[in-house]
Symmetry: C2
């Protein structure tokens, strides 16, 4: 059974108070995605002949190859939506949005390396180290991580908002966040003492932190109140975990062609997964409960959070 | 002939106006190095049992192993000295100082990887991927780079100074700076069309940018005038290049035991070097001219820059 049919077996995920039809949500997200893609294109170094730019052409190519491989742009879109829900403009949050995508992309490049997950395929195309080489992939990842902080520092105003965004991004992606989660994940491989608590501790860092960060950064650029910021943080934490559970379910049951990567990869590697530890139905129930919690957390924002609310439900239905 | 004897064959490198005896300079630098080491120890994640910290113990160990391998701490010491010369305190610049050492260390960890320079030995000890493993080394590097930006954002005040420091650090270490230089260096390997101009373009980015950054960050935390900032920037650019030339000379002629790494490694790899392209004597002359230029650039700071001035001369005498 496909995850996309999950909603038909559960109470209707579309609450009666929604102001956005699914097609409106899709249009809003698609518009945001396009704005992010244009901004990323402007922020990434140009591919120019030797001597024309301080950035070697091969490095610029590898950075662009990985960032411009498509993808949902979920993290940057979340940052734009959060900023807008708090009354800021999309332009205010664009540097943070692009920085989030750069950090996400760098993490994929490094995770795919032979010494890590050793993946040949990502988003349906050869991974960066396959399309280029390992050294270039390591450096392209390093360059994207560094550039992320540069653009937030350069284009976020006023300065205290920039500093806050940089702190959020660094904490979410550093040794206590994403990188720590990746390390814990590698260490857990093949271990048989997996518990839901341990798995959650890994995912809170490995993927959750960088899904929560967009909400906090959106609030920071808008200089939102503590109450609103905390609401968005809780929303981000809940959808982040829900997103990971769906990811695990897709890995067990997903369609390889739609995913653009090898299905059942995690279970083949002996990695802990939610379906593996909890069972498929309990995993689905948990994802649903988290989406419910995310929507509740948006209360302080009222109707300004309609798009974020609808997005929480939609995440449950994704099939890639 | 050893580099440490270079001074005996050139006009006295110690100008008559110096206020610091060599032993005073050594004491000042040693004190700064100790302050940096203490601060780094505070900033690095603690090694704690599973579940006690969000940072996995193995990751914290690898980060500490590489950062605490000794080293001259030249970059952080330069940042402290520059800040002090501009009237700020060492405490004001400590986050920037530690961030510079973290970025420097991450670059060494990644450069040593099998896919890059493939080095087994660094500062006389096994490299990070030899002491741990490749995946841990990649992640430890990523974590140090991220933590660098986090600590500057957290502990540099006021916010505009923090933003400026982050911009300087990111530009110096990103695709237009250090990472770009490393890429260009890898691409140049084995190519026979080396010129001094091309080599300088590589080194300006690969090592020069991160030696110039401490001076600019020191000026930024002190919110120094444009004139003083530009003077320190020029000083940093000149000593950065001089440092690299001496490095190349040491690679040709240095003592392996003192260097803590394999001598003649660069020439074995077919890398372009200053002695290789210019000859040994012309390389020495160039390093001396750059040190002279660095000292001239300190003019706007007057006697407050005495330590930096003496340091420029001392760089010529280093033997590791």
């Amino acid at each position: 059974m496909e995850i996309s049919r999950l909603d038909s077996r559960l109470p209707s995920p579309m609450p009666t108070t929604t102001t956005q039809s699914p097609s409106t949500l899709k249009a809003v997200m698609e518009r945001a995605r396009q704005q992010v893609d244009s901004a990323l294109d402007r922020y990434l170094p140009a591919v120019e002949p030797e001597g024309q730019s301080a950035c070697p052409a091969r490095l610029a190519e590898a950075m662009r190859y990985s960032v411009q491989a498509g993808g949902k742009r979920l993290r940057p879109v979340l940052a734009l939506l959060a900023a807008k829900a708090c009354g800021a403009s999309e332009a205010d949050a664009m540097a943070s949005a692009c920085a989030l995508e750069m950090v996400h992309t760098y993490s994929l490049i490094h995770d795919d390396l032979p010494a890590m997950d050793d993946d040949d395929l990502r988003r349906g195309r050869p991974t960066c180290h396959k399309a280029f080489d390992e050294a270039t992939a390591i450096l392209a990842g390093d360059a994207l991580l560094t550039l992320a902080f540069e653009i937030v520092a350069k284009d976020t105003h006023p300065a205290p908002a920039a500093v806050r965004c940089i702190q959020i991004l660094a904490e979410a992606s550093g040794p206590m966040g994403m990188v720590g989660g990746q390390m814990a994940d590698l260490e857990a491989e093949g271990r048989t003492d997996g518990t839901v608590e341990r798995l959650e501790a890994i995912h809170r860092r490995k993927t959750g932190a960088l899904l929560m960060a967009p909400l906090c950064m959106g609030a920071a650029v808008a200089q939102a109140s503590v109450e609103v910021t905390q609401g968005l943080e809780r929303y981000g934490r809940s959808i982040g975990l829900a997103f990971q559970i769906i990811d695990d379910l897709l890995d067990v049951q997903g369609d390889e062609a739609k995913l653009g990567k090898r299905a059942q990869k995690d279970s083949d590697l002996g990695k802990w997964t939610y379906p593996g530890l909890l069972g498929i139905q309990a995993s689905r129930d948990k994802a649903q409960a988290l989406a419910d919690d995310a929507v509740k957390a948006l209360a302080p924002l009222g109707e300004k959070a309609a798009v974020l609310r609808d997005l929480a439900w939609t995440l449950l239905e994704r099939d890639r």
